[in-house]
Each structure stands twice: as C-alpha cells, then as structure tokens.
Subunit: 204 residues, 2 copies
DNA sequence: AAAATGTTTGACCAAATGGTCAAGAGCAGG
DNA sequence: CCTGCTCTTGACCATTTGGTCAAACATTTT
C-alpha cells in the first residue's frame, strides 16, 4: 500500500474509487458516524476489498485528510508578499470561494474534523497550518504598517476569510433553503458580496 | 413525557440532566456518531433510564434541536426595525458573538446538523427561520434604499454575520491552536475585529 | 402502613459494526 | 499452458449498537 506510488493500475483505480466514496460518506456523517459498509456500498466494492487496500477505517480517513490539507492551503500559500495587497487578498478570497463551490465535500470533511476536536489533524494544524498562517499574518501586518491596508488584526482577517468562504460549502443546505425561490446566481452574488466586504474593510 | 410541563421534580431534573449530557455528546460527534451509552455515561444514568424519559435516541436529539432553534434566533428576532441601522446590526453581531462564546456546544450541535444535510430541522429552516430571515432582510434592504446603510445584499449580510460569529464556536479548536501562544484576549479581539468589519462594510 | 404510582436497572435481544481469514478468481511473465 | 502473484469475497467473529422488559426499588397518596 505504498502511498507514494500505487503499483498496479487496478490499485490506482480502486484506491481512487475508495477515497472518492469515503469522501462522500465521511464528509456527510463525520468519522464516527460513517461505516465501512456505507463506504463499500458507495464505492461498489465489498467490505473486505476496502480492507485489502487500507488497513482500517481510520487509515482511509487519515489518507483523505492528509491529501486534503495540502490542497486546502494552496490558495493561502500562493498569496504573494510582493504583490499588490488588496488584489492579493481579494484573489485569495475568490480562490477560496471557488474551492467551496467546487469542493464542498472537502470543506465539510474538514469542518467535521475540526468540530469534533480535530483529533486526527491536530498536529497538522499546530505544524504546517500554523506556520503558514503565522507567515502570512506577518505579511499582512507589514502591509498594514506600511499603510497599504486599513488597520486590521491579521489573524482575525484570515479567520474571517476562511469562515465566510467555507460557510457557503458547510452550510450549503441552509443557504439554499433560505434563498429558495431566489434566482440561481448565488455563487455570483456571494462573490460580489465578499469582494465588496473585503474591499471596504481593507481600503485604507 | 409531557414536553410542556414535566410533572415531578425527578422528571424535571433527569430530563435536564439527559439533555445536558446529550448536548455534550451530540455536539461533538453528530447524531450518527453519538451513542446512547455515551450519553448515559455522561449523564450518570443507565441506558434504560434514558429511554424511560425519551422514547428514542432521535427523540433526544429532536428535543435538543427544537429547544435550540428558538434561542438561536432570539438575537435576530430582537433586531429593531425602528432602531438606528448600524447600531442595531452591530449589537446583533455582538449578541451572536457572545452566544458563540457562551454556548459553543449549541453552535456545534446546529453546525453538525446542517453539515449533515439538516434532516431533522429542514422544516424549521424552511419555516420559522426563513420567515424571520425574509422579514429582517427586507428591513435591511429598506435601510439600504433609504441610504442609511451602504449598499449590500441583505441575505448575504445575514449569512456573513452567522458565519463570522459561529466560526469562533465551531472552529474553536483551530482558532485556539493557531492563536496558541498569543495573549488570551481572543474574544475581545474578535469582538473588535467584527465591529470594525461591519462598521466599514455598512457605513454609507 | 398499604396501595398506587413513579423510577431504576440487570439481563436480554436482534441488528449493525470493524475487522479477519481462507479459499477462489484473475492476470502477468515465462 | 503453467506458475506465481495480485485481487476479490463469502463466511465468520467479537463487540457495540438502539431498544425492550419484567422485576425491584422509591415516593406519594390514601
């Protein structure tokens, strides 16, 4: 079960199928609320077959989460310290919002894990994530002190971006029910709203 | 099992104890991830004893949710259409933030339920919640059209308030880990940040 | 203090759960 | 075609799960 390079085509395909199914199930019910049978059924494989590719339920979950953490931080990582502050932040917001639209299950998987106390990714949060956030927060603080951004707490700014963008994925059902009969342009509306919000917040 | 008026003192006390324990457990693991044994143990009661007061696991969950929905919408409900727009909204934000700080389990219970597709509160959302939101959104839109607020989409404004305030409860672990060695004034910082954010967003 | 009512629980049940295993099916290289 | 390997699964297992029940224990009412 080399994570680096699954050997055969069958392995590659099945591991792919399993992770896809597991994402479906875990993102909806959380770790403890999900069952191997559910995942197996969703994947169209037998339960022992899952356990041929992964040693346990937890291993599947961990595989999903570690794959996710990397992608999830991509947009923040690519915020350029030498770029133009407001456009840099606005485009970070946009990229995060697009991820919420395009990968809502990933967002929910992450949300579930954090709500449950992050037992399986505490280390990643204290490590990679915190390092990255500290780094970017200091960039933002520098921008503020240079007068390129209105005065804001950099950490809470980052939290606000996560919160506002992920909300559209994590609370999708609620948003949809409340906006019910409204026109189906919700993503564009959200995009416009967030651009306005962060522009007004950050313009010196 | 009169929900209106539990008869004896013992009933009142035990129902209270059970709901308290259930809130602890459900808010952490979601409905499917929680077990009656866990709740019973947390409550210090035997499992059959729980089922003497509630007919099923689901009944406990529903009882919690319906109690919650009412309290949860209190702050929004008390936003005064005849008040001063910006202070009204800012104080709504503050009250919501305080609820996140003082009742994080309730916030997580709600978040879990929505993430999982809101199977047990879909009706409440389509009904009471939507009605209230429609009502308040129209108040906000009126304020905007009267020039008392900067131009914003009322619905997304409300979503943003929910999202930003609840984030501090739902993602508490993440926030705490990222802010680790920082001073322990996180609530005041958040409060100040949100006041700034909404003031800049809404001031015409 | 007896009768009636309310409360508690040990023992139990059927179904579901995470996981194992041995045996069979499929497939690649010689 | 045969050999050795990868892949698949039915049958199985111990534990946990939501839920039942009758019998014991408390409390209140008469």
């Amino acid at each position: 079960m080399n994570k680096a390079q699954p050997r055969t085509r069958i392995q590659r395909k099945n591991i792919e199928t399993i992770l896809e199914a597991a994402l479906d199930v875990f993102s909806q019910y959380g770790f403890r609320g999900s069952t191997l049978d559910q995942i197996a059924k969703t994947a169209g494989l037998s339960k022992p077959n899952l356990l041929y590719y992964f040693p346990s339920k937890e291993a599947i979950h961990v595989a999903l989460l570690s794959e996710l953490m990397d992608n999830w931080l991509g947009p923040l990582r690519s915020m350029n310290p030498d770029g133009d502050p407001i456009p840099e932040i606005l485009s970070y917001v946009q990229r995060k919002l697009e991820m919420s639209r395009d990968f809502p299950r990933e967002s929910r998987l992450f949300a579930n894990e954090i709500i449950q106390g992050a037992p399986r990714i505490e280390d990643a949060i204290k490590g990679d994530l915190k390092t990255l956030v500290d780094d970017k927060a200091s960039v933002i603080s520098k921008w503020v002190s240079e007068g390129k951004l209105a005065k804001v707490d950099a950490y809470h700014l980052i939290f606000s971006i996560w919160s506002l963008t992920q909300h559209y994925a994590d609370f999708e059902v609620q948003v949809a029910l409340v906006l019910a009969e409204k026109n189906e342009r919700s993503h564009e509306d959200a995009s416009l709203f967030l651009t306005t919000l962060f522009t007004r917040l950050l313009t010196p």
